[in-house]
C-alpha cells in the first residue's frame, strides 16, 4: 500500500487538537493541584494568587500521612484492594451467569424479573443504610470487611450491563449451533459465552472495583476499628480538631489516588477498549 499524505479535508484540523488539549488539561489539573497543595506550606496555599508550582514539602507531608496516628495508611490501602478485588470478581461471575440467563434463556417470569431488577436501580441507596446496619449487626458482620463485600456481591447494574453485552455480542446462531451439537447449557456458557465477553467482564470488574474504592458512606458507618478501614475512611482521620489542614488532606487524597493512577497506566487501554466494546450496541 502506498502511503500518501491524506487529502486536506481528511486531516485533523488544528482546532480539534486544541479541544483535546483543553480537555486533557482540565482532566489532569485537579490531580496536579492536589500535588501542589500537598507539597506546599499552609501559608503558601493561603496566598492569593496561590502558588501554582509544587513546593518542597511533599515527602514530608507524605511521611506525615503514612505515620499519622490512627491512620494505618498501608493497611487501609490493602483493605481497599482486597475488598475491591473480591467485589469485582464476584460481581463479574454472578452478573455474567444471571445476565446470560436473562439474555439468552427463555423461562417463565424472565421479563418480570428483569423489570424488577432494573426498577430497583431507581431506588436511592441511602434508603437502605439503617436496616442494612441492623442486619449486619445481627449477622455479626459489623466491623468486618465482609460487611462491605457481601452486600456488594451483586448489583442490578452489573446484571443489566451483562445482559446487554451478551445480547449484543453473541449471535444466537452460534448458541443454536452449539446446542444442536449436543452441548448442555452450562457447557455453552463456559465455552462460548465466557470467552466472548472477556473484555466487557474486565470492564465491569474494573468499574465495580472503582466503585468500591471510592465508596465512603457505608464504610464509614460499618467499619469501626482503624485496622479495618478502607482508604476513604482512613482519609477522614486526617482532619485536625477545628478547621483544616489542607496540605495533609490533599496529601492523603493524592496518595489515595496515586495507586489507582498507576494501576490505570497498566490497564488503561484495556479499560478503554472494554468501555467501547460494551457500548457498541449500547
Amino acid at each position: 500500500m502506498i502511503k500518501r499524505r491524506a487529502p486536506k479535508w481528511q486531516r485533523t484540523p488544528k482546532r480539534h487538537y486544541f479541544a483535546l488539549g483543553v480537555i486533557t488539561f482540565l482532566s489532569i489539573f485537579p490531580f496536579y493541584w492536589m500535588f501542589v497543595v500537598a507539597s506546599n506550606t499552609d501559608e503558601e496555599i493561603s496566598k492569593s494568587p496561590p502558588s501554582l508550582v509544587p513546593g518542597p514539602r511533599f515527602l514530608e507531608v507524605a511521611h506525615k500521612v503514612l505515620t499519622a496516628d490512627g491512620v494505618y495508611f498501608v493497611k487501609a490501602l490493602t483493605n481497599t484492594f482486597i475488598v475491591g478485588i473480591a467485589i469485582a470478581v464476584a460481581q463479574v461471575i454472578f452478573s455474567a451467569i444471571a445476565g446470560f440467563a436473562f439474555a439468552k434463556l427463555d423461562f417463565k417470569g424472565r421479563r418480570f424479573a428483569i423489570l424488577f431488577v432494573v426498577a430497583t436501580m431507581m431506588l436511592p441507596s441511602q434508603l437502605g443504610i439503617v436496616p442494612l446496619f441492623i442486619m449486619a449487626g445481627k449477622l455479626h458482620l459489623v466491623n468486618t470487611l465482609y460487611a462491605l463485600i457481601v452486600p456488594a456481591l451483586v448489583t442490578a447494574f452489573g446484571v443489566f450491563w451483562m445482559r446487554q453485552i451478551i445480547d449484543a455480542q453473541i449471535p444466537n446462531e452460534i448458541l443454536e449451533a452449539a446446542s444442536i451439537d449436543g452441548a448442555s447449557v452450562p457447557r455453552v456458557f463456559w465455552n462460548i459465552v465466557l470467552p466472548s465477553i472477556r473484555q466487557s467482564s474486565f470492564v465491569l470488574g474494573l468499574f465495580a472495583f472503582l466503585a468500591a474504592w471510592n465508596d465512603y458512606l457505608w464504610p464509614t458507618i460499618v467499619l469501626q476499628s482503624p485496622e479495618k478501614f478502607t482508604l476513604q475512611v482512613a482519609l477522614t482521620q486526617l482532619k485536625p480538631l477545628y478547621g483544616l489542614d489542607y496540605a495533609l488532606q490533599m496529601g492523603g487524597a493524592f496518595l489515595a489516588t496515586a495507586p489507582l493512577l498507576i494501576l490505570f497506566i497498566f490497564v488503561g487501554r484495556r479499560l478503554v477498549s472494554g468501555v467501547m466494546d460494551g457500548a457498541v450496541k449500547g
Binding site: S46, T78, R198, I221, K239, L244
Partner: protein, 449 residues
Amino acid sequence: MNKLAKSKVFLIALLGASVTAGLMAAPAKAVETTNLTIWTFGEVIQPGLQREYQKLHPEIKIIPIKNDVDPLHQKTTLSCQTKSGPADIIAFEVPYSGYWRTGNRPACFQDLRQMKTSASNVAAGVAEGLSATDIKKNYLPWRWEQGVAFNDSVIGIPTDVGGLQVAYRTDLFKKAGLPTDRAAVSKLWPTWEKFIEVGKGYVSKLTPAEKKSNKGFIDDAGTIYAAIMNQGTTKYYQPDGTDAGKLVYKTNPQIKKAWDTTVSALNAGIGARLGQFTSDWNIGMNKGAMATILAPAWMLDYIKKQAPDTKGKWDIADLPVGGGNQGGTELAIPTYSKNKQAAYDFLTWYLAPEQQLKVFKTYGLFPSTSVLYDDAALLEYKDEFFNNAPVGQIYTKGVLKLKPIFEGELQRKIDSTFGAGLGRVASKKMPSEKSYATVISDIDKLFKN
C-alpha cells in the same frame, strides 16, 4: 499465553501482592494489651498526651477514631440502638448534650458516679477511689451540668471549654486610628452596639480598593449571634421540671436581641462575609481582610498555623458585655464497653488539671477544670504570637462570667437553623423579618411530624 490467561495471572498477582502487603503492614502482636477505643473528632484526644499515657501504661493501647461531628453523632446513635460497638470512650459536643441527656438516651452511657478510679494512676497524681461526684468540684457548675442527664446520672465529663474573646490586629487598628493597647481596646466596646460603632468607623476609613477586595472589620458578623446567645441564661429551652424542658424559641427575648444586634451588624457592613474555615477565610487572614475575629481559645492555635507571617500583629481584648463561649466537648463511656474501668482511669487522668494545663500550653484548648483558674501557671501564661497577651488570664476572666444554660434535645439543629437564617440576611437574599419568619417555620417543622 492467551489473553484470558494473562488477565488471570495479572489478577492473581495483584491479589498476592495485596495479601503480602497486608501481612507485612499488620501491626505486630505485642504483649497482652487492653485496647481502649475512643470515638472522637478532631484532636479532642491530644496525640502527645496519648503517647504519654501509653508510656505510663504499656499494657494499654489507645486507639482514637476520628469522625466529623455529625457522622460521629450518627454512629453513636446507631451503636446505642444495637447496644453494641467497639467504643470504650465517646466524645460528644456540647450542642448535642441536650440530646443525650434527655428521654431514655442517658441509658446509652455509663453513670460515672458509679465508677471509681483504681490505684493505677496514683503515681501520676490521680487519687484512688474518685467517682464523678468527687471530681465535680473541680469544675464550674454550669460546665459540669452539661454532662449531667436529667435523671442526675453523670453521663459525661467536660474536656475543654471554648471561651470567647476578641482577637484583633494591632497594625490594622493603628492604621485606622484606633488604640492598640488591649485595655484601651477593651474599653472601646463595653456593649455590642459600641462594637458595631467601632466597626463602622473602621470600615469608613477603608480605601475604595480595599472595600472592593472585600475587607472588613470582622470576618463574619454572623458570629455575633452565637456570642450573644451564650451570654444569656436561656437559649431555646427553659427548664420546667421535665427532662425535655419547655420550648421557648418563639418567646425568648434573648433570641430576638441576638438576632437584631447581628442583623444591625450585617446591615452596617462591618463584616467581610468570610465563612470561618473556608479557604477564602484562610487567605483573608493572611491578607488582613479582617481586623477582628471572635476567637475561642482553640482558634488561637489555628491562627498561628494559617497565618504565621502575622506573628506579633495580634492581641486579645475583652468581648463586649464580657463572658463568652463557643464549643466544648464531653467524654462519655458507653454502657456496652467492655473495658469500663480502664476507660474511666484514662479519662480521669486525661482530664486531670495537670494534663489539661499541658494541653492548654501546647494546643491552646482552654481547660474546664476551674481549679486551674487560680493557678499561677495558667494565669501567667503569655502568648508571644499575640503580643504576649496573658491568654490564660483573659480567657479565665471571660469563662467565669458565664451562667448556666439549659441545653435541650434539638439544640444543635435549632442553632443551625438560626445560623442559616442569618446567612440569608448576610447574603442579602431575604430581608430580616422574612428570614426570621422562615427560621421559625423551619423549626416548627422539626416538631410537626
